[in-house]
């Protein structure tokens, strides 16, 4: 489950798409494959953004044979971001990540300057960090993290419940034994008293 690339683009009209920033993580490809894969990813990101209308999200399977999905979200104000990941990456997390990236970008660069930014001029340091962080979606995405914590807690509680049941059994055992002990003690006491009370030998 990994992310291959993350793009921030700006879309004007129907055809004018500019890539403002991109980050890649191509470690899974061989050294010689990387040089060919990168332009392909750039091209596919541009094409998919061109073909997507404003204020829509899409998740497109890149090719039948290739294990890759392209997730794109074009916002109403023209800012768009594209995430290329493999097909096991959960779709919901991908779109959450896209929204988050665009919110960060909007915070860093005001919307008025988007029209004037050229290609690859938007530099947001956190994009690379975000890419690395989201390689493991169950840690990074809050919803998934919450779910994972809850599941862990549930497991712990289940084991606790099992322990309590064992404790119950041991307590039952103890009850029986203490019952026997008290009977024996009583018998001992009556015998002792009997030797003291009854007829004196000699």
């Amino acid at each position: 489950m990994k992310i291959l690339a993350l793009f921030v683009l700006h879309k004007e009209g129907d055809k004018n798409v500019r890539i403002l920033q991109n980050e890649f993580n191509l470690d899974s490809f061989g050294y010689f494959e990387r040089r060919g894969v990168q332009p392909l990813l750039v091209f596919s990101a541009r094409t998919v953004t061109e073909r997507t209308a404003l204020d829509t999200r899409q998740s497109v399977e890149a090719d039948q044979n290739v294990n890759a999905m392209v997730h794109v979200y074009v916002r109403r104000d023209g800012l768009a971001s594209v995430l290329v990941a493999d097909s096991e990456y959960p779709q919901r997390v991908a779109h959450t990540l896209l929204s988050k990236v665009m919110d960060d970008f909007t915070a860093m660069y005001p919307p008025s300057s988007w029209g004037s930014m050229g290609e690859q001029t938007g530099k947001m340091v956190s994009l690379g960090e975000t890419l690395k962080k989201y390689q493991n979606p169950s840690e990074a995405d809050p919803l998934m993290r919450l779910q994972k914590d809850l599941d862990d807690t549930k497991d712990i509680l289940k084991s606790t419940l099992v322990n309590v049941l064992e404790r119950g059994e041991k307590i039952d055992d103890l009850v029986a034994r203490s019952n026997d002990l008290s009977f024996e003690a009583k018998a001992f006491y009556t015998t002792a008293r009997k030797t003291n009370r009854c007829c004196t030998l000699f």
């Binding site: 919901r92 203490s178 002990l181 008290s182 003690a185 015998t191 002792a192």
Partner: protein, 375 residues
């Protein structure tokens, strides 16, 4: 007798119109008492009765040659209509006159127009059914049959137009410039009509896929299944059928002069398809998010349940523990008491010597008295 016969024929001639002389003569060739004439004309004619009117009628015209040419044109026209297009074109009888060529060309154009109108009708029917079929599920067979037939018709029409074009080009050297332009414009009109029809067909197919998708989302809303799985299937279906149609068309219009330009339309088409899918995507995303929230909620509720179960079990065990506590306390007290008794006994045993001495002294005195008295 001859004079008599002539007299009999003459009044019928005066009655009828002069223009339709030939036919009227044929019609009024009644059961003629030719026997009498044969008997009379034994010397002059030994031939059959068919030649009798010619020999009898002096003021009739012989129009058999006209009749034969008319029959021939009718026969040729019928042959042109019945036979398939390639055979009549290929079986070029040298030389084919220009008028015959034009005749053949026009016949084929007329036939293509007829087929076009029929296909238009089918297309209208299909569009009506596709619009309606949001509720009835049994219409899918009809739609598929109609789609298939329309596709075949479009292919046929394409082929026929291409052949017509080819024929026009082959026979172009003989005709004048005006007739050339006329033929080319006829072919152009047919091609443009075919292009509009295939566009309409494409739109109908798109409407139908949109309907299918709406149905599916409506069904999913009620059954709460994930829509995500259907999305991956829908693009392949939606993009598969129209693209097959495009390929078929491009294959049949091998001439290249066809006005049908599907290449640029293909891009828009897929973007439209993607747009149609995009609306579902935002719904899907929100649906998955709400589903995740609900899962988390459910997990928390289960956690609470587990906690309460735990508390109940522990409280039940507390009661048992009280019992154990009581039992052990009882045992302790009894053992303490027993211990005390034993101590008392020990004390009594150790501190009781005087009594024993006294008892022993009495015993010895008694023993002495017993022995003294007896000895």
């Amino acid at each position: 007798m001859q004079q008599e016969a002539r007299h009999r024929w003459a009044p019928s001639a005066s009655k009828t119109l002069p223009s339709t002389t030939t036919t009227t003569y044929i019609e009024t060739l009644e059961p003629f008492p030719y026997q009498t004439l044969n008997n009379n004309n034994n010397t002059s004619s030994s031939s059959s009765s068919f030649f009798l009117p010619l020999t009898i009628m002096p003021n009739g015209r012989d129009r058999t040659s006209e009749f034969q040419t008319t029959v021939r044109t009718f026969a040729s026209r019928r042959n042109g209509l019945d036979g398939p297009l390639p055979t009549t074109i290929n079986r070029r009888q040298h030389p084919q006159s220009p008028t015959e060529q034009r005749g053949i060309f026009m016949q084929h154009a007329k036939r293509i127009g007829n087929d076009l109108s029929q296909t238009f009708l089918k297309l209208e029917q299909l569009s009506m059914i596709a619009k309606q079929s949001s509720l009835f599920h049994d219409r899918t067979m009809e739609i598929q049959d109609l789609t298939l037939s329309i596709k075949q018709d479009i292919g046929n029409l394409n082929r026929q137009i291409a052949q017509l074009q080819q024929y026009m080009r082959d026979t172009n050297g003989v005709k004048s410039k005006n007739s050339q332009t006329h033929s080319s414009s006829v072919v152009f009109v047919l091609q443009s009509k075919l292009a509009t029809m295939s566009n309409d067909f494409k739109q109908v197919l798109e409407a139908r896929t949109q309907n299918l998708k709406d149905e599916k989302t409506r069904r999913d809303v009620f059954s709460r299944n994930t829509v995500a799985s259907s999305l991956t299937a829908a693009p392949s279906i939606a993009n598969g059928r129209p693209s097959v149609l495009f390929r078929d068309e491009q294959r049949t219009t091998s001439g290249g002069d066809a006005v049908i330009d599907m290449g640029s339309d293909g891009g828009h088409h897929s973007s439209m398809k993607q747009q149609l899918l995009a609306i579902d995507e935002t719904d899907t995303y929100l649906a998955t998010r709400s589903e995740a929230m609900q899962n988390i909620e459910q997990t928390i509720v289960e956690l609470g349940d587990i906690f309460t179960q735990l508390a109940t079990m522990v409280r039940q065990q507390e009661e048992l523990i009280h019992r154990i506590d009581a039992n052990v306390d009882d045992a302790t007290s009894h053992i303490e008491g027993a211990h005390t008794e034993l101590l008392k006994y020990l004390r009594s045993v150790t501190s009781n010597r005087w009594l024993i001495i006294k008892v022993f002294a009495v015993l010895i005195i008694f023993f002495l008295i017993f022995i003294v008295f007896l000895a």
